[in-house]
């Protein structure tokens, strides 16, 4: 029987992409959960764009510090080796290509890696925060999202209809149904969630899908 991955499972799958010694920036939502699945022995440093490299877990009640928050404005802690810096330094790291990997949510991603995740015209106004800088600057960009929106429409599309966050910048998409590489040929299906068929994945994708030679069911 097929089942959609939970948010935790999407995060767990993305954690496999994180390599030893990486500096990683995780967005809000599912991306934040990725931290829970990165083994400590990988020595990964989490970057928070408000000015911290070396973000630790959430604090206990006794350790809460209003001056120590992450980019989602949540209270956090630091790990050994952490550093604080200004927003200009933070985005020098990001824009300058020093951040190895970023994981973000999205409303739409198109077949050539353009991403829309910050604005629905005449509706929701929140702003792009650091997302445009992250997709423009990080070495590797992963999108974590549901395959379908709440109306059942595919969020993987031929061309984004929503205002873009970045053009041709996403490398990998992990959804509750599948893992896609983005190549010059468009979406390439690498893995599918247990129980789904390739046809079902294709039907849930509003753009051509190439199936990788070594495509397989996801393993955890």
């Amino acid at each position: 029987m097929s089942h959609h991955l939970t948010r935790e499972q999407i995060a767990q799958r993305i954690a496999h992409e994180v390599e030893h010694g990486y500096c990683v920036n995780l967005g809000i939502g599912i991306p934040t959960l990725v931290a829970n699945y990165i083994p400590a022995e990988k020595g990964v440093m989490l970057q928070s764009e408000n000015g911290l490299l070396g973000m630790g877990p959430f604090p206990t009640k006794a350790n809460v510090d209003p001056d120590l928050i992450n980019a989602g404005k949540q209270t956090i802690t630091t790990v050994a080796g952490a550093s604080f810096f200004s927003s200009a330094d933070s985005f020098a790291m990001i824009r300058g290509g020093h951040v190895d990997l970023t994981v973000l949510g999205a409303m739409q991603v198109d077949q050539f890696g353009s991403i829309a995740n910050w604005m629905i015209p005449n509706k929701l106004v929140k702003g792009m925060g650091g997302a445009m800088d992250l997709v423009a600057g990080a070495q590797y960009v992963i999108v974590a999202m549901q395959q379908l929106d709440n109306k059942g429409q595919s969020k993987l599309v031929e061309k984004c209809t929503l205002p873009l966050t970045g053009k041709n910048c996403v490398h990998l998409i992990v959804t509750d149904m599948a893992v896609f590489d983005i190549t010059d040929q468009g979406f390439v299906l690498k893995e599918w969630a247990p129980g789904f068929s390739v046809d079902e994945i294709k039907k849930a994708t509003a753009a051509p899908v190439t199936v990788a030679k070594d495509a397989h069911e996801m393993r955890f």
Binding site: I69, V125, M132, L164
Partner: protein, 231 residues
């Protein structure tokens, strides 16, 4: 020159309607609480405010939105403020949403005598519309203008009477760049010490950027999103 003011009101002398004001802080962390409260009392209007966020409904710059003192906001993310969304959607409030790194660099450049710079951020998006695009080494970049303010407001942990500042943890954020980009920069500090007390090796913002400084009071240091480890 004496930079020390006795309170926020004295430090605000000269702030007028229609000015461009810059604010340090990220969310509610490291915001110049005392200066914002005093601006509300002062009642100056038609302000252009440059700040990464717009506070929440009842704190931070949200206070100045409530009193309709702000004409235009330049920010990267305003998601936590319903007053903001309402005034924006009704057309009452002008908003220039700017990518966070571009905003930080605009302020840095403004304070550093750089009138504009090219960045890869926002190329191919609404942000780059109407702006010059130039190709360097095969990649497109968009030209962004620097920002300077009539007044700039920052909050630091410790400061001395010359205006040397030390920030604490993630409360540094936009404060160092904002400090450099104001014609008059007002620093409010939790602790104001004599010159010579702070270790020169530990200064984050040298006093040359600061024209006025005062010891703030009644800091709320409000937490926007208290999140604890379970168990």
């Amino acid at each position: 020159m004496n930079k020390v003011c006795k309170n926020a009101f004295e430090a605000l002398k000269g702030v007028q309607d229609g000015m461009t004001l810059l604010f340090g802080g990220f969310g509610l962390c490291g915001i110049p609480e005392n200066s914002i409260m005093a601006l509300r009392e002062l009642g100056v209007k038609n302000l252009t405010c440059v700040s990464n966020n717009a506070g929440v409904d009842d704190f931070g710059l949200g206070l100045l939105l409530h009193t309709r003192q702000i004409k235009k906001m330049i920010s990267s993310y305003v998601g936590e403020n319903q007053t903001f969304e309402k005034q924006f959607l009704s057309g009452e409030l002008e908003v220039d949403l700017t990518p966070q790194g571009t905003l930080a660099e605009k302020l840095r450049a403004g304070g550093a005598g750089i009138p504009a710079f090219y960045t890869p951020t926002g190329v191919g998006t609404k942000v780059a519309e109407g702006k010059e695009i130039k190709v360097f080494d095969g990649r497109e970049y968009v030209l962004e203008r620097a920002i300077k303010g009539d007044f700039a407001f920052v909050k630091a942990w410790r400061g001395d009477k010359f205006g040397n500042l030390i920030f604490r943890k993630a409360a540094r954020n936009f404060n160092p760049m904002v400090a450099t980009a104001g014609k008059i920069t007002v620093a409010e500090v939790e602790e104001l010490v004599e010159v010579g007390t702070l270790d020169p090796d530990q200064i984050h913002t040298p006093g040359i950027y600061i024209q006025r400084i005062f010891k703030g009071t009644n800091y709320q240091n409000r937490i926007e999103n208290l999140t604890l480890t379970e168990g």
